[in-house]
């Protein structure tokens, strides 16, 4: 259950961005999670509630925006989504695919009062 450690990271970021402001309450947290991360949205939501309890984040909505796995071919410039984690270029069969998106794990924005 490393969602606990990930959520600690989320709350560090929230704290850092609200500490010097006169923020009474955080009402919404938008979290961006790539498809190829080991973060389970359900587990994140469960842990979020636990972390928020008794803080200015209590009662806030956690919105998780999932980002699909996409890659770019370094040989032929093909770009597209990766299905079934097959990292072989569908256009030129090259094995040199670089991940373009799908590894994100970041707090995008907060809604505060």
């Amino acid at each position: 259950m490393h969602e606990t450690a990930l959520m600690a990271g989320v709350f560090d970021v929230i704290e850092k961005h609200t500490a010097d402001l006169t923020v009474q309450r955080v009402t919404k947290v938008i979290l961006v999670v790539g498809e190829m991360t080991n973060a389970m949205p359900d587990a994140l939501e469960a842990v979020f509630t636990v972390f928020a309890h008794g803080t200015k984040v209590e009662g806030a909505e956690l919105q998780i925006r999932m980002i699909p796995l996409t890659a770019r071919c370094t040989e032929c410039e093909w770009e597209g989504s990766i299905e079934q984690h097959v990292f072989i270029c569908p256009h030129c069969s090259s094995l040199g695919l670089e991940i373009k998106s799908g590894r994100e794990l970041y707090v995008e924005s907060l809604e505060v009062e």
Binding site: T4, A5, L6, K16, N38, H85, I88, L105, S109
Partner: protein, 223 residues
């Protein structure tokens, strides 16, 4: 009011990992982070590897475990400096935990630092420690569906050790499909078929690792 943030939730670990990496590089250390399920054979493979490499390269070992120091005790018998990290519940090592024990080693006297992560196929992958490469250990008794179920560890690893091949006849594992799946996820990964029990494949893997250590040493000597 909306606050734009755009900050990674692993950014503080990433920062510490970079600091670790700097220390490793300054000391000319090659560092590997060994990951895999509980019982995959990480410690046993490491013990066999140490016995082969101990005369060619100066080793140090960090053992990650939730509560015990059993693995560190096993490594100690092979005559290399070893330090135990107990995570106290956490399912992975993080860069800060590694940073804290580095002072216990004479880093300038070590060429290869091996970090055995907590037994887990999922959690350790997201937490960089500052290592040069990640190594996955998968025992074939875990089943050939594991790469497709847990692709990230195979994508991020530079090599995978398929351990316990001595047990092949007792499993329904299709080695070809296992290898194909791993190569689809990471076409550049090295695959070693190993039995830490019989010693099969240990030489080949150890030689490959030694090359990597030497490569880094040469680079350091040039710079």
């Amino acid at each position: 009011m909306e606050i734009k943030v755009n900050q990674g939730i692993l950014s503080s670990n990433e920062r510490t990992a970079l600091e670790n990496k700097k220390v490793f590089d300054e000391n000319g250390l090659f560092v590997i982070n060994i990951m895999g399920s509980p019982g995959a054979g990480k410690t046993t493979v490491l013990e066999k590897t140490i016995d082969i490499l101990v005369n060619s390269v100066k080793l140090g070992v960090i053992e990650g475990d939730i509560y015990t120091s059993k693995d560190a005790q096993r490594i100690e018998k092979h005559g290399v400096p070893v330090k135990q990290i107990n995570t106290g519940g956490a399912c992975h090592l993080d860069a800060g935990m590694v940073s804290k024990v580095l002072t216990d080693f004479r880093l300038s006297e070590i060429e290869l630092l091996v970090i055995e992560n907590v037994g887990n196929l999922v959690c350790p992958v997201e937490f960089n420690l500052g290592e040069d490469i990640k190594i996955a250990v998968l025992s074939i008794t875990e089943g050939d569906d594991k790469p497709m179920k847990y692709p990230l560890i195979f994508r991020e690893s530079r090599a995978v050790i398929l351990n316990k091949v001595d047990l092949i006849d007792f499993t329904d594992v299709d080695m070809n499909s296992l290898r194909t799946d791993i190569k689809r996820i990471n076409p550049k990964i090295e695959i070693f078929e190993v039995s830490a029990r019989t010693g099969q494949g240990i030489n080949e893997w150890s030689r490959w690792l030694l090359e990597k250590v030497k490569d880094k040493n040469v680079k350091n000597a040039v710079n």
